[in-house]
Symmetry: C2
């Protein structure tokens, strides 16, 4: 099967590529893999013949060239993140909306072609006030431009699917935790930082109170969701093509207790409380809990405890051992 | 106050213009009125100095020129209808999505400017399956390209409002009944036709069964909704800027009984039953009932019986008398 990954240089893109090299998670061998991003993606181990492309979908015509090989499966992961889309209004709409629409349009203009398109959306399509658990029929009223652009992408995905131009499946990913790599300035950064840094023997700052609740899945679970979206029978979806993914509803306190169980008190002591009312206010508007019945019934899965999320990080990022406890 | 009506040549646009000429429904006098459509709007009685413009918002730059006078209030009513947007995919996206986005962008690019923008959306943003009554938090999963384009317009309206570029209020209008004018080929046409034609002494065809239920408001009520959206305090809306409008949930049987009460058996006998399974199937996917609590609490109103809807037609379109009973 021929696979195209757009946004291949990002965290999900790199992990997805690595996973595709490890067995046949799509059920069929990947005969041709094209990796695309605005910066050159790196050549992945396991795919010596992967085609590496640099392209900006928001540029007219850029998407068309990516379809030359008629990929059977397209992962559309490319987006600028929430903070950047909020800071740069025009860039957010150009990359996240025009880029997505240009891709769907380029697919539509190929005759006799209807690839599976997996679109990564986000819980940012929802905006407070929320019910106790956000169900599958709750409306999308985003409170960021990023969330707006993702909600529009979902609508386009459904309409282009209904019209037979593509076979789209959208996944609204939970907040990914523990995000590997360096600390960043995103308002959500501390959710990963308060676990990742202590597990590496480093100090971390906690800017909110321990009762803050949010919706999580590990990077490993997110890759599982994206792969399941690539292979499931889209018939039962009807034209409601985007699904809220399962996840774990947990408080910061739950995170800390799991860290204590997995890595001990010494790790927990590396978390320094430094309340930041601005971050507390932002995070207070985020989704806390979902009833993801529809996705669950279709076979999507996520972790059910923060211990599992931490364990996945130790296995996937730390080579199976915790430096701090050494 | 300075008012701009885009889509002024359509049914709502013409009735809105006429209503603006009749007293001060906006609470303040209209000092300047600009009427815009893709075809030249006609000069309205009551506004001898109205500025008549021809413009296609989907053309780059066309929207900017309409903002020269810095209107305080913009009615954005322009759209191609459901059937046309379904038949011509590209035109639908060009007019209904690009046109709307171009308008909002042109407004954003004016510095120090934040006009009230009233956007007419539609119950077509919803797609079956439905709950018994569609509440204010039900998700938008349109089953037409038109509904998709309107749902995207709602998202843009909210985001541009949140960012402070405009002060948007969206109204999801019920199916307008009795729509004046000639019969048309729209799947929904019979809802008006089975009343309008008999009231005018003409035969009408009923292609569906009498238990078909749908959501209605008169043209007069729709104008009232659009005017209320123009003047209400948008603060209580937060960033949920589009509201499902109140309406009347009624069956075809209810319509016929009301016709009998208002115009007598002779009128009812002019309805000829000619079942059309294709139309029955289309109409079966449409919204039947709403719980429009939010709009109602904000002062939006509609008719509560089909007798009132028929009476509004007799008063507004037939000069107060029913030809058939003559």
């Amino acid at each position: 099967m021929r696979v195209l990954i757009i946004g291949a240089a990002g965290m999900i893109g790199r992990k997805l590529t690595a996973r595709l090299a490890d067995g046949t998670p799509l059920g069929k061998p990947v005969e041709h893999l094209t990796l695309v991003d605005v910066v050159a993606p790196s050549s992945p181990p396991g795919f010596p013949a992967a085609e590496l492309r640099t392209a900006d979908l928001s540029k007219p015509g850029a998407a068309t060239g990516l379809l030359d090989g008629r990929p059977d499966l397209i992962f559309h992961l490319a987006a600028i993140v929430s903070g950047e889309a909020e800071a740069d209004f025009e860039k957010g709409y150009r990359v996240n909306l025009d880029g997505t629409r240009n891709l769907f349009e380029a697919i539509r203009q190929q005759s006799g072609y209807c690839p599976r398109v997996v679109f990564t959306s986000s819980v940012a399509v929802f905006g407070a006030p929320f019910p106790a658990a956000i169900g599958d029929e709750f409306h999308t009223t985003p409170l960021t431009s990023y969330g707006t652009q993702k909600a529009i992408g979902e609508l386009l995905l459904a309409d282009y699917s209904r019209r037979g131009f593509l076979d789209g499946v959208g996944v609204r990913l939970p907040t990914i935790c523990i995000r590997p790599g360096l600390p960043n300035k995103a308002a959500s950064g501390f959710f990963s930082g308060i676990l990742r840094e202590p597990l590496a023997g480093q100090e971390a700052v906690l800017p909110v109170s321990e009762d803050v609740r949010h919706w999580f899945a590990s990077p490993r679970a997110a890759i599982g969701m994206v792969l399941h979206a690539a292979t499931l029978d889209s018939g039962p979806l009807g034209w409601r093509r985007t699904l809220s993914m399962p996840g774990l509803s947990a408080t910061v306190g739950d995170q800390i207790e799991a860290l204590r169980r997995v890595a001990g008190e010494k790790a927990v002591r590396l978390i320094r409380r430094e309340p930041d009312p601005a971050i507390q206010a932002i995070v207070g508007g985020w989704a806390q809990n979902f009833d993801a019945s529809r996705a669950t019934s279709l076979g999507f899965t996520a972790e059910t405890s923060f211990d599992q999320i931490i364990q996945a990080h130790i296995e996937d990022e730390l080579g199976g051992r915790i430096p701090v406890s050494a």
